[in-house]
């Protein structure tokens, strides 16, 4: 029974605040759980896309084509999996979804989501962070504000620091 293997996030941070999670997560490819709402593997979601209580999760090696991005536009949320915290592909996937495909719904980081990745994840467009169970909420909230300045434009700040300096008349330091 897929429901027996559902995963429930203990610590979810949404838009910078801890939140009770209503979504369960299923990692089983070939059977749909009965519980709703639930995040399921992409292929299962694609086969049941009219069920609004289902959301897809993308594996880190997903190639985000125009066609797939078009399908995802109707998803209530899109989760991106970090199979290991050292796998950095999810950051690119989130940026592509936000910046190229203008996805405006929730993008959730799942899997090996650790405190010290959260600042980068937020910059790349993740607005929901499902922490690995052993992570501490207070560490996570502190880590989200680790830096008050960034050099590069990303999803959060659309202006490169070199442009901001010029705008503020500070280009010559």
């Amino acid at each position: 029974m897929p429901d027996a293997q559902l995963q429930h996030t203990q610590t979810l941070i949404k838009m910078g605040q801890p939140e009770q999670d209503e979504w369960a997560l299923s990692r089983i490819d070939d059977a749909l759980p009965t519980r709703r709402p639930v995040i399921v593997p992409l292929s299962l979601w694609q086969a049941n896309a009219d069920d609004q209580a289902l959301a897809p999760w993308l594996s880190s090696d997903t190639e985000l084509s125009d066609e797939l991005a078009g399908q995802l536009a109707s998803a209530p949320l899109v989760a991106i999996d970090f199979p290991a915290f050292t796998d950095g592909r999810g950051y690119t996937l989130a940026r592509l979804l936000r910046e190229r495909y203008r996805f405006e719904g929730e993008i959730r980081a799942i899997g090996d989501v650790l405190v010290d990745q959260l600042f980068y994840m937020t910059r790349c467009g993740f607005d929901a962070l499902a922490l690995r169970d052993d992570q501490h909420l207070e560490d996570a909230l502190r880590a989200l504000g680790a830096f008050s300045v960034s050099y590069q434009p990303a999803v959060d700040v659309r202006e490169a620091l070199f442009e901001r300096r010029l705008r503020e008349g500070n280009g010559h330091a």
Partner: protein
């Protein structure tokens, strides 16, 4: 050189706070070793054989007097009074205590320094030409571009967990002194017929286990697109680089597997979306970066002073030797760049003591506008010395043991820390360098042999760049015994080539003798004024092999 504004300072200060927090969580057991590992590495902290090692970033090799003094203080307070300059223009401390590292980073931040991204699977310190800004053959000063790349790559949110490390080198001169063909990305700045600055982008070079020479991705990128194009390249690598095998994870393997055409197609497909985006450089942004690298206020040096310098050079043999080997032409008449040799038998190549760091700071301030450059050959350069002060500087360097007139010779060995320090090494490298330096210390012999790059690595990670030494030595481990493999014919300049292994490896004590035999073949076979490398290329491997294994 580049001076921080409040944004730069805020960022490094916040980085110190962040790392102190991470270290505390680690020491209290909340952050396990596996999770802590990439965090400490991206702050330059390794756990080594005998002690932790801290690698401090020296962006494109530029250091100021106050920074040198602070580095000296740090080595005294937290280490054993010496440090090591690396082949990537960085500085390593060999004996810091783990728990002291946040404080060391705090001390560094006070002088606008850090250890951000000096290790780990991220974009590393950007390296460049040690003669940037003063070389007669320069078309464009690479330093403002390096600084723009430094800022773009620092804490880049998308690229902190790449498949493997990623190194960028920039050259702005007609002769490549930054080894751009053996970097993950190599950039060459050049001007087109209309005088517009363009960037040649190379990708997929690298040393290590599978050495490769980079291929050209784009010949003529307009300068304003530099950062968006780099972002496209690294994004393609982040998505498609191999993550299943760390030995096949560098971009060179991806470029090779896809072929350069397919790699270029993917980069261009990505770049279409990034081009003209918010990271597109503007003239004002580049001009702002350039204000940090203006010409120093050099004085006029009289023709008489220049004549007196040339006369001294003609009359004084020791001075002449120093000038020929350690002094480099400058784009401004009356000025010279002086290389401080960190190669002497008593110390590992690239090592400096705290007292020397202080003394170098003083010399930089007295003779060269307070700035020092680190070379990838592990020496230091004072870039702006008036010719009528070269003699006085020479005398001071003699007293400090940094006037060894052997820059560019067999004695000027590039060498990694090797098995004496490094946890990765298969064999020691420093004692090999010292044994070779001891055997070949006669200056007349060294000058007769002429320009020769001898590079030593203690393992196939190739930090000592052995693949691109005219003579390369690699430490290998066979059933717990240290052996040394010798290769010939490498080069890291415009004629970049990878050395070819001579044959079966040697015992440690036989290495100097092997080098001697190789040199005997060269001396016997060379044409007049022919470099070792050119003789090797002309006559090939065989005569060397026959002599060494006879």
């Amino acid at each position: 050189m580049y001076r921080y504004d409040t944004y730069d300072q805020t960022l490094v200060d916040e980085r110190v706070v962040q790392f102190r927090d991470q270290m505390e969580r680690h020491l209290s057991g909340r952050l396990g070793e596996e999770e802590f590992r990439p965090l400490r590495l991206q702050n330059g902290l390794y756990i080594q054989k005998h002690a932790p090692m801290l690698r401090i970033a020296i962006p494109y090799g530029m250091l100021s007097g106050p920074q040198l003094r602070r580095l000296g203080e740090i080595t005294r307070r937290y280490d054993r009074g010496y440090a090591h300059f690396t082949t990537r223009q960085n500085l390593q401390l060999n004996w810091p205590k783990l728990e002291d590292v946040p404080q060391i980073l705090g001390d560094l931040a006070e002088v606008q320094m850090h250890a951000i991204q000096t290790s780990g699977n991220c974009i590393r310190n950007t390296t460049s030409d040690q003669f940037a800004g003063i070389a007669a053959d320069e078309v464009e000063d690479p330093r403002p571009w390096c600084e723009l790349i430094r800022q773009w790559s620092t804490l880049h949110p998308e690229f902190a967990f790449l498949p493997r490390k990623f190194k960028i080198a920039v050259s702005g001169a007609s002769a490549d002194r930054a080894a751009i063909q053996v970097h993950d990305i190599g950039l060459r700045l050049w001007h087109d017929d209309q005088g517009e600055l363009r960037v040649k982008v190379l990708a997929g070079g690298g040393l290590g286990r599978t050495p490769m020479i980079a291929e050209t991705v784009r010949e003529d990128l307009p300068w304003r697109h530099l950062l968006t194009y780099l972002e496209a390249c690294v994004r393609v690598y982040n998505q498609f680089g191999r993550r299943d095998n760390k030995f096949k994870a560098r971009i060179k393997i991806l470029v090779k597997a896809l072929g350069i055409e397919e790699f270029r197609r993917r980069v261009d497909a990505e770049w279409v979306h990034l081009k003209d985006g918010p990271q597109t450089l503007t003239q004002a942004a580049v001009d702002a970066a350039r204000t940090h690298f203006v010409e120093p206020e050099r004085r006029t040096v009289s023709d008489d002073a220049i004549a007196a310098f040339e006369k001294l050079r003609a009359d004084n043999r020791a001075f002449s030797r120093f000038v020929t080997n350690n002094v480099t032409e400058h784009k401004v008449p009356g000025y010279k760049a002086v290389t401080l040799s960190l190669k002497r038998r008593e110390h590992a190549p690239g090592d400096v003591t705290a007292d020397q760091l202080d003394a170098i700071a003083n010399l930089a301030e007295r003779y060269s506008f307070g700035e020092v450059r680190v070379t990838h050959e592990q020496n230091l350069v004072l870039s702006d010395v008036p010719v009528d002060e070269v003699e006085a500087l020479w005398g001071e360097l003699e007293a400090l043991g940094m006037a060894n007139p052997t820059v560019g010779t067999l004695n000027d060995i590039i060498c990694c820390p090797g098995g004496d320090y490094c946890g990765l090494a298969n064999a020691v490298s420093i004692p090999i360098a010292q044994a070779i330096q001891e055997r070949f210390e006669d200056l007349d012999f060294l000058y007769d042999i002429g320009p020769l790059d001898l590079n030593i690595s203690g393992c196939m990670n190739a930090c000592g760049h052995h693949h691109v030494g005219h003579i390369g030595i690699l430490g290998v481990d066979k059933k717990g015994e240290e052996y040394y493999q010798v290769s010939l014919g490498g080069s890291s300049t415009d004629d970049t080539s990878l050395g070819k292994i001579l044959g079966p490896s040697f015992f440690r004590e036989d290495v100097p003798e092997v080098i001697d035999k190789v040199l005997q073949v060269y001396v016997a076979q060379r044409h007049e004024d022919e470099r070792f490398l050119d003789t090797y290329r002309r006559i090939g491997h065989k005569p060397f092999k026959e002599r060494v294994y006879a």
